[in-house]
């Protein structure tokens, strides 16, 4: 450290320990990421390179017949996350517009406080309440459905990712609003015209970032899908279908100890999820760097 040249009173041992601890800890973080990737690749690579590679990358999950396909679960993960975002994005944008100018200030502060508090509600509590409050409603509305389906899980998941969307979008939208509100009202625009024509288009990059981050939360979530989606490994064709996501699949296979042949599908599923997380991260970096 060049600046430390002026300082003669610092004990060399203390300084060495201090720097060692700091750089060691930072190195440990990097090492942890490398270890997660290395272990999953090490266990998943044989699955893809083996002779029966097609087995994992197929639609059929029938362990008794020896077919361990996870593609239907990948489709289910994607479908569930996209459907949750289709509810959460418009709702999130609506709530942000409410807090950034449309709603009365007191109500706006209250809503924002509620959204902040939502970040502290455990996922498993959302799942638990939905199992006993939402599934009976779905059962009653759609006769013949068990209630444990894509629709129930999607609705609960959209509530779970809502704070992520709102809290990421609120700051940039408020900035855009505060920058433009005076000029817009001088031009005779009311609040909803200002938001729709000026503030929201200005914040479109943040809207995209919020959508991407919310999507990564939704696709990585385990408990909602595990508790509410019904966990039947099939393609998601109707909102009342019981589906099994990749995350729920991992949890199910590990907790039921299905034997080491089913483990292969586990590592493939983990690698797919890790790949999705990395891709989302790279997209997010591009989006957020250009706004900064």
């Amino acid at each position: 450290m060049g600046e430390d040249g002026v300082c003669r009173n610092e004990n060399r041992l203390v300084q060495a320990t201090w720097l060692g601890a700091l750089y060691g800890s930072t190195g440990l973080c990097a090492l942890a990421v490398a270890a997660v990737f290395a272990f999953l690749l090490y266990f998943a690579a044989p699955v893809f390179w083996a002779d029966n590679a097609g087995s994992v990358l197929s639609l059929a999950w029938r362990p008794l017949d020896g077919s361990f396909g996870i593609l239907s679960m990948a489709a289910a993960s994607l479908a569930l996350a996209v459907s949750a975002m289709l509810v959460a994005m418009p709702a999130g944008i609506g709530i942000c517009c409410f807090t950034c100018g449309l709603g009365p200030p007191m109500a706006a502060r209250l809503v924002l406080g509620l959204v902040r508090f939502m970040t502290s509600i455990p996922t498993v509590v959302y799942g638990f309440v939905s199992v006993f409050a939402l599934t009976p409603i779905i059962q009653a509305v759609f006769r013949g459905s068990s209630g444990f389906c894509w629709l129930t899980a999607g609705l609960t998941l959209s509530l779970l990712v809502l704070p992520t969307v709102v809290l990421l979008l609120e700051g940039p939208l408020r900035d855009a609003w505060e920058h433009t509100a005076l000029a817009a009202s001088a031009l005779g625009l009311d609040a909803s015209r200002t938001l729709l024509h000026v503030a929201l288009p200005r914040a479109r990059r943040s809207i995209a970032a919020a959508a991407v981050l919310g999507f990564s939360r939704a696709i990585g979530d385990t408990l909602i899908a595990l508790m509410l989606a019904g966990n039947a490994p099939q393609l998601p064709l109707s909102p009342l279908d019981s589906i099994r996501t990749l995350t729920a699949h991992i949890a199910l296979v590990v907790s039921t100890e299905s034997g080491s042949r089913a483990y292969n599908s586990l590592f493939a599923a983990g690698l797919l999820l890790l790949g999705a997380a990395t891709a989302v991260n790279l997209i997010l970096r591009r989006l957020l760097r250009k706004t900064a």
Partner: protein
């Protein structure tokens, strides 16, 4: 771009409806939980049939209460903090004050990547670690409390790093000048001036990270939690935890009493994470008043 005239009032009403729906959904969630769970609160929720005082001292095992799960969650959180907090704070200090240039960019990228790993994948990492150990040096390795705490520590590490980094970087410039003006080196200035000044906000970050660790179920599901382990026996033993208790009771409750215990467990966990959240925000609020130089 033009919209038809009715679009603007429709948009206004849509935004109001969104805010109202959110409030209604949360009110429904809390109302339902309180309605079903409030009646279950009491010593028997935690200790079942056992005598509370003797169970508290671990003299008698608790068969049908939440006490072992509470103990499991507490020891899990303590162990996670022990593993994650020193590393997270040190790495945050390093990123805020020492790292620069491409090294800083790479390390920041690593921390962001770690933050984006889904918790079930982190649990799977712990699981593969055990499989690897079994194949190589430790044939008897099994999932346990220490492994779960280690994986949880990795999960909350990025939160700690970025909380520390942000709170150091947001200190006012005047405070930064005190160190050099007194002739202190970088290390001493950080230890004696900057870290004490940002201690509260770092603590708030730690509390939020603890809340995150307390609610996570996917990691422990894959790394050694079981439904009836009793009080945690040691670092290498299986354990119970509140979030897993809630999940397993929802999935396979046998009697109405067990379901009631599920409601009670959900309320206890919500009270725990909620009070951690409120505590962290009170710390932040006092801090903002103190350093309000350039809001």
């Amino acid at each position: 771009m033009t919209f038809p005239k009715f679009a603007y009032p429709a948009f206004r009403w849509f935004c109001r409806a969104c805010a109202l729906c959110l409030a209604a959904a949360l009110a429904g969630l809390f109302g339902f939980l309180l309605w079903r769970g409030l009646g279950t609160l009491g010593p028997s929720l935690f200790f079942g049939e056992a005598d509370p005082w003797r169970a508290l001292l671990l003299r008698v095992p608790v068969m049908d209460g939440l006490w072992p799960a509470c103990l499991g969650t507490l020891s899990l959180l303590g162990l996670t903090c022990l593993l994650a907090v020193p590393v997270g704070i040190a790495a945050g200090v390093c990123l805020a004050e020492y790292a620069a240039g491409p090294a800083k960019a790479w390390l920041t990228f690593c921390v962001e990547l770690l933050a984006s790993i889904p918790s079930v994948v982190m649990g799977l990492f712990g699981f593969t670690l055990i499989l690897f150990l079994r194949r190589t040096i430790l044939p008897t390795a099994n999932t346990c409390l220490l492994l779960a705490a280690g994986c949880l520590a990795l999960l909350v590490l990025p939160y700690l790093v970025s909380a520390t980094q942000k709170s150091l970087e947001s200190l006012p410039e005047s405070l930064r000048l005190i160190g050099p003006s007194l002739g202190l080196g970088t290390g001493r200035a950080i230890r004696h001036i900057l870290l004490p000044a940002s201690a509260r906000s770092i603590l708030a970050g730690v509390i939020l990270a603890v809340g995150r660790a307390a609610e996570d179920t996917a990691v422990i599901l894959l790394t050694g939690v079981v439904a009836n382990a009793g009080a945690p026996a040691g670092l290498a033993g299986k354990f119970e935890a509140l979030p897993f208790t809630i999940y397993s009771l929802a999935a396979q409750y046998q009697t109405p009493e067990e379901l009631d215990r599920g409601y009670g467990a959900a309320m206890v966990l919500l009270a725990l994470t909620g009070s951690l959240f409120v505590g962290a925000h009170l710390l932040h609020a006092t801090l903002r008043r103190r350093w309000q130089v350039n809001p």
